[in-house]
């Protein structure tokens, strides 16, 4: 039986909704929306949550979390006074191996990681604690390679889809990312939090309007421009991954559940469910790569 992606979400990557919702109404709204997504997932027949978090960066290709029960803690580098994120999560280790192999089969450099004390990133922990508080559904997490660009990330998304289809699972893909990513560089009163600039706010709202219409592939193909204009988080790789994982089209029912600033950045909770015939298809013209063939070594050369 072929597996499938039955839905997707975009969630914030900062710990504020989990650790300090009482300090800002927007952070509380984001938390409430994430919890509602969790209830929605619990009502679905999903049996796997797959996460791409911009807070877990890698250099050597892509890493896949394969510890079946990571049990540790993490503290945010900036917001350590908000407290400690203690976690005991449930990962699908066999699926991690399958996912890793599927990515390797498409030419990516990959490995699984399963080590006691491995620091699961703040974004992933916050997302899983609010989406899946009782660990009812096992999860998988992949890192965000700091050198990868669109082609490599699209291939990773396709490999994610390959792995789900081969596994027979019903999966939900979760992109953990900010939208505009300009933080305030000073201490602010959390109650006064706002999007860093009206320009960032306009670009966030433009993207969220498209996502609300289910136009995920359009958003993916506009990501470069968004990054240029609004300092997008990690080139918006999480949305490239999400769009490729979910099939590279615009036929979704999208819903923007919450949008609020977190320390100046744009944070949103968005839901996407496949809905054939919803919107146009592939309006833009970015590359659609199927197999990653490695770096082309344009710059690398042995010193003479």
């Amino acid at each position: 039986m072929s597996g499938s992606l039955i839905g997707g979400y975009v969630l914030p990557n900062k710990p504020h909704p989990l650790l300090a919702p009482e300090q800002n109404a927007g952070w509380a709204e984001l938390r409430e929306a994430m919890e509602e997504c969790g209830r929605e997932i619990a009502r679905s027949d999903a049996d796997l949550l797959l996460i791409f978090s911009t807070r877990w960066t890698s250099i050597i290709g892509h890493q896949f979390q394969a510890d079946p029960e990571p049990d540790w803690w993490e503290v945010d580098d900036d917001f350590h006074e908000y407290g400690t994120l203690r976690y005991k999560l449930r990962m699908d280790a066999p699926f991690a191996e399958r996912w890793c192999a599927a990515a390797r089969a498409r030419g990516l450099h990959t490995r699984t990681v399963a080590y006691r004390g491995f620091p699961i990133d703040v974004g992933t922990v916050a997302a899983l604690k609010l989406l899946n508080p009782d660990n009812r559904i096992p999860a998988g997490v992949v890192s965000c390679n700091m050198y990868s660009d669109r082609a490599e990330t699209i291939v990773l998304g396709k490999a994610t889809r390959d792995a789900v289809e081969q596994s027979g699972r019903k999966a939900i893909a979760v992109a953990v990312t900010s939208f505009s990513n300009r933080m305030f560089t000073e201490w602010i009163d959390p109650a006064d939090d706002r999007i860093h600039s009206p320009k960032d706010d306009e670009w966030n709202r433009k993207f969220l309007e498209l996502l609300g219409e289910g136009r995920l592939e359009d958003v993916s193909q506009l990501a470069r421009e968004f990054t240029r204009q609004a300092n997008g988080d990690s080139k918006m790789k999480a949305l490239w991954w999400l769009a490729a994982t979910m099939g590279q089209h615009n036929d979704y029912a999208g819903s923007v559940r919450a949008y609020a600033p977190i320390w100046g950045t744009g944070a949103a909770v968005v839901g996407l469910v496949p809905a054939p015939g919803r919107a146009g298809n592939l309006e833009y013209d970015e590359d659609d790569t199927d197999h990653y063939r490695g770096e082309r070594e344009v710059l690398a050369q042995q010193p003479s």
Partner: protein, 296 residues
């Protein structure tokens, strides 16, 4: 502690976890093959340790790129850091048990001096905080022990959020604040600027990460920039290094963009003495040098 406070020595001390892995200390769980890819750098650290052993330090002050903060400069504010450090990027190489004392008094003093100088600052008081592997690695490789209390300073993102020039200005101010606090408290300090020079990585790793056949500079441009900066260090031209820092950063993706080297040069007051280069080598393509300024 005896005599007036001063910076005794400043060291450019790169922190690739590969070097700790290759040394096979008992605190690190993974075992290396000893195939020798980073032999030159390990020998450089040996030479450094031999010289530092002869000097007395009350404190090691580390500026580390792997504690990244956007909202100001943060300082370790808990009396002891202990635990297991697993590198999220190279967990196959670095799973290290550490236990080290913290000089909170000096951390607070630098924090206060920096704030008085107009910088945004914060003391880190969460006892669960995970000390970054850059601090652990550079401290271990430079001294070979964790007996000397440390001050750890985060790497503010100012270069990334604003510009290289803005970053350098801020790091020089942070360096001056560091120096003032050290002098006021009468500490004899070892400064560690823990960063690579050129910093473009290969994105693949061989089956044996220590395979010397794999290790080489990412490209010749990176090496040329590194050679140039090292020659300025040997000639005591630290002011010129800072003058050229924005171009160096852009020219070879240098990890000095995280601020550590400019901070240390600022703290040392732009020394004109020739620096001693104990070793230079590459780790997954990045350029790393162990360089000492003996101010004693």
């Amino acid at each position: 502690m005896t005599g007036p406070g001063r910076i005794v020595t400043g060291v450019l001390a790169p922190h690739p976890p590969h070097l700790v892995y290759a040394a096979n200390p008992p605190q690190n769980e993974p075992r290396s093959s000893r195939a020798g890819a980073w032999k030159g750098l390990l020998e450089g650290y040996e030479k450094l340790r031999a010289r530092l052993t002869a000097r007395e330090f009350d404190v090691v002050v580390v500026h580390t790129p792997h504690w990244k903060t956007t909202v100001g400069h943060h300082f370790l504010g808990i009396p002891r850091c202990k635990g297991l450090s697993v590198d999220p990027i190279f967990p196959n190489l670095f799973r290290f048990q550490f236990d080290l004392p913290v000089d909170v008094e000096l951390g607070e003093a630098i924090c206060a001096e920096a704030a008085a100088g107009g910088l945004v600052t914060k003391m880190m008081r969460n006892p669960d905080f995970r000390l970054d592997y850059g601090t652990i690695t550079s401290n271990y490789l430079s001294l070979g022990h964790f007996e000397t209390p440390i001050v750890a300073i985060s790497s503010n993102r100012v270069y990334f959020d604003y510009s290289n020039e803005a970053g350098d200005r801020e790091m020089l101010a942070l360096g001056a604040a560091t120096r003032r606090a050290i002098e006021k408290l009468g500490k004899r300090a070892l400064l560690l600027a823990t960063c690579s020079l050129s910093h473009r990585h290969f994105t693949q790793e061989p089956a044996d990460p220590e395979d010397p056949a794999f290790e080489h500079p990412y490209n010749a441009n990176q090496t040329r920039w590194d050679d140039h900066i090292l020659s300025l260090m040997r000639n005591g031209e630290t002011r010129r290094i800072v003058d050229e820092m924005p171009d160096f950063i852009e020219g070879c993706v240098s990890e000095t963009r995280d601020g550590a080297l400019t901070w240390m040069i600022g703290a040392m007051g732009f020394p004109t003495i020739p620096a001693i280069v104990h070793g230079y080598g590459t780790v997954i393509g990045t350029g790393n040098a162990i360089v000492e300024w003996d101010l004693s």
